[in-house]
Chain length 449, copies 2
């Protein structure tokens, strides 16, 4: 069992009382063994963290690793047009291009302080994504996209209910719990408009029967979706999901912009989670989720980037800043203070992935998912001290991801002084470039036929 | 005369036709001597720019260098309360603390690709700001804040019309045109609510009489301001300014959120410039300026950060991203495409500072204000090539300021491979920390009396 001792850091624990202190953290194996002002235990590895901020790693609560290759491929296009462009490429993935796509996204996230990911895959080749996750050392819930009500869409975007379930269950059996539980399965029904009620009910039974398995979908991203849901089911998203029993602490819904009060009631009564994606929602002109109102109702809200082409980064510092700014714009400058934003990015995500008792804060006994940041440099200066000038405000409003120096996931150092240890950054970039060219070539060849 | 040859860059010229090409740039002294696919002239310094993007430097069109020390000191507070906190510190500057404040801001801006700045100072000690500008090598229009209608405010915030004019004119005579014209004077009336009509008319006459001198103020930042203007003058901001003749190409107004159609008419008819500050405007809950509408009316819009405490960075990449996102939120994903955003940050600023014929684009004969950026790394990958994947979209939506490697201002290399050459970064950070502590000590001592 490896032991790591982090010395002399400024620990922003994000625990229940928001404790912050100078001190040391001892990691034994996968877990935090001790947190104290001074620890003198021997350790195989000592990380000096003087003048550094030590945080629980960020939980990226909504992402499509399958889209990382497609960064910037549909900019300045509205959502439905954007979706046409992106799907025309996403659904042409080979196992190789999908692996390259996942690795680009995971590397970007580790470098920007993310230690856990909640991913929705594409229809096929999901093993590529799980393999990339396993190798990288990142914690993830992931699952293949499910789309069994798509007979009006192009053939590439269709699958039968039976095939969808069979492939998903096979993946769950093979991947859920792997790597000492670092990998989790999450059923990923694309959105309610593209899934049968039967499929949704079925996966809820499976998720309930398999602790730690989630259901990861989209709800209320655009106004049009609500009209279409009413036309299709007679109900709005969350009310429909409640009516078929697909709600609860293992259900995670991205966006949650176009929700009404009754849908908020469903979420708070059932413990269904909201994943807020501020960059994506503004970029695609979708709207601004009423996050402070959701938090006030006791709904858990986590923070996410969505896929690279709808953002165009996978960087929690960018999301935190924007999550703060857009609510201040809506409600005034007091809205979404920095502490609340950082809480969404850490404990909010930990709750959403169903691991509130294991990650999301620095506490004795929790799993060691920890990031170390420098003092922010020029962009966050002058700083008299981490306490006097409230470092949490700087983290949300002044820090950039380059300040993340070291990252530990599941007790393993995956980045040290900005060098990725589990992945070769130059190789990932080169592979991504080649894979993107392949994807375009396949699309153009298909269209020429 | 120094000569610099930039070799093999991808030149995003931002010229009238938006020309982009691979090529070389020869700088002789302060000017661009030649731009061509291949230049073989001898040069004292050769900068290899293969796999780099070469851009005109950004023009930061609205900033308060006097506030850089105050980053994060009034977060999560609404504008009027924020203003109380910030002014209680800003107006206690000594020449030393003000110098430290200016240097922090200038260093952060150079490191993020800004080559020109339009600054509003505080009431006194303006020489400190000009000295920091002169030493740093940055191009700037700056001027002391003018506040001659502030009898209802605390004594520290008051000055007579006569004193305000006298001090401003003295500064203009001593600083305007200095450093081969790199430094310009800009009268800085704080906002119309705090200035007499007499003062505004007087400085307009002076600005008209001294080519290159600007008038730099605020207009329509918050809704309350409009009501107060109507109560005070019977008119809204721009209509009032038109009525007293304080409009035209040498007049620059920050924010321009709460403007009506008649005020847009004034701006477009007179060539008065708007400086758009998206982070500040959302952070303080002020609103969102209707930028696409202003551009459609032919109003020149430049991009700015405002002071560090209302942002909390001085980084044009952050402003560009948000300038794009908030308009897409308002108007749909097609609004504010990347090219238009980059144009605001370069030529928009060049026009606002009155130097459209000299800076803002890479063109033969223009002054050499040039930045070199790497390919964006992981955060902007995969990128097949700068053309195939439209690097301008990546610059606006995926790049971070760490990609700015080298900066040339007025033909002088001020940063090379991220090392500042005219300033000592560690010293600036240390001085800033000390100055901030001094400022707080002075405030607390005054309040204890």
């Amino acid at each position: 069992m490896t032991s790591i001792l982090i010395k002399n850091g400024y620990l922003v624990t994000m625990d229940g009382v928001g404790n912050r202190q100078y001190g040391d953290i001892l990691i034994e194996g996968r877990h935090i063994e001790e947190i104290a002002p001074k620890i003198d235990a021997p350790a195989e590895k000592v990380i000096e963290a003087a003048n550094m901020v030590v945080l629980p790693g960020f939980v990226q609560s909504h992402i499509h690793l399958c889209q990382s290759l497609l960064r910037g491929q549909a900019d300045d296009q509205p959502l439905m047009e954007w979706l046409d462009t992106i799907t025309s490429l996403e659904f042409r993935h080979t196992p190789e291009t999908l692996y390259a796509s996942a690795r680009i996204g995971i590397a970007e996230m580790i470098k920007s302080g993310t230690t856990s990911v909640m991913d929705m895959g594409t229809l096929h080749h999901q093993d590529s994504i799980f393999t990339a996750i396993e190798e990288s050392g990142i914690r993830a819930q992931a699952g293949k996209a499910m789309m069994d009500l798509t007979e009006n869409l192009p053939p590439l975007l269709r699958e039968s209910t039976e095939d969808s379930l069979e492939e998903s269950l096979d993946l769950m059996r093979r991947w859920h719990g792997k790597a000492d539980g670092r990998i989790r399965y999450g059923f990923a029904p694309r959105w309610q408009l593209w899934n049968t009620t039967g499929l949704l009910k079925e996966i809820k039974q499976e998720a309930d029967a398999h602790p730690g398995v989630g259901i990861h979908g989209h709800a209320g991203e655009i106004e049009y979706e609500v009209e279409a849901m009413i036309a299709q089911t007679g109900m709005r998203n969350l009310v429909y999901l409640e009516s078929i029993g697909v709600v609860g602490p293992n259900v995670q819904m991205a966006h949650c912009i176009w929700l009404d009060d009754d849908e908020y009631r469903v979420m708070s009564e059932t413990g269904t989670h909201a994943m807020h994606c501020p960059c994506c929602n503004t970029k695609l002109g979708s709207g601004i989720a009423r996050v402070p109102e959701m938090l006030a109702r006791g709904i858990n809200v986590a923070l996410g980037s969505d896929g690279a082409p709808s953002n165009n980064n996978l960087d929690m510092f960018i999301e935190m800043r924007l999550a703060s700014l857009i609510q201040k714009y809506r409600l005034g400058a007091e809205a979404m203070p920095a502490e609340a934003v950082l809480r969404m990015a850490t404990m909010g995500g930990a709750k959403a992935i169903g691991m509130a008792d294991q990650i999301g804060s620095l506490e004795k006994g929790k799993i060691a998912d920890i990031i170390l940041l420098d003092d922010g440099g020029l962009s966050a200066s002058p700083l008299r001290s981490f306490e006097e000038d409230d470092i949490v405000k700087r983290l949300v409003s002044s820090y950039q991801s380059g300040s993340v120096r070291t990252s530990i996931i599941d007790g393993q150092v995956v980045m040290e002084d900005r060098q990725l240890l589990t992945m070769d950054e130059a190789e990932i970039i080169a592979d991504g470039k080649k894979a993107l060219a392949d994807l375009w070539a396949r699309k153009l060849a298909d269209e020429a036929h």
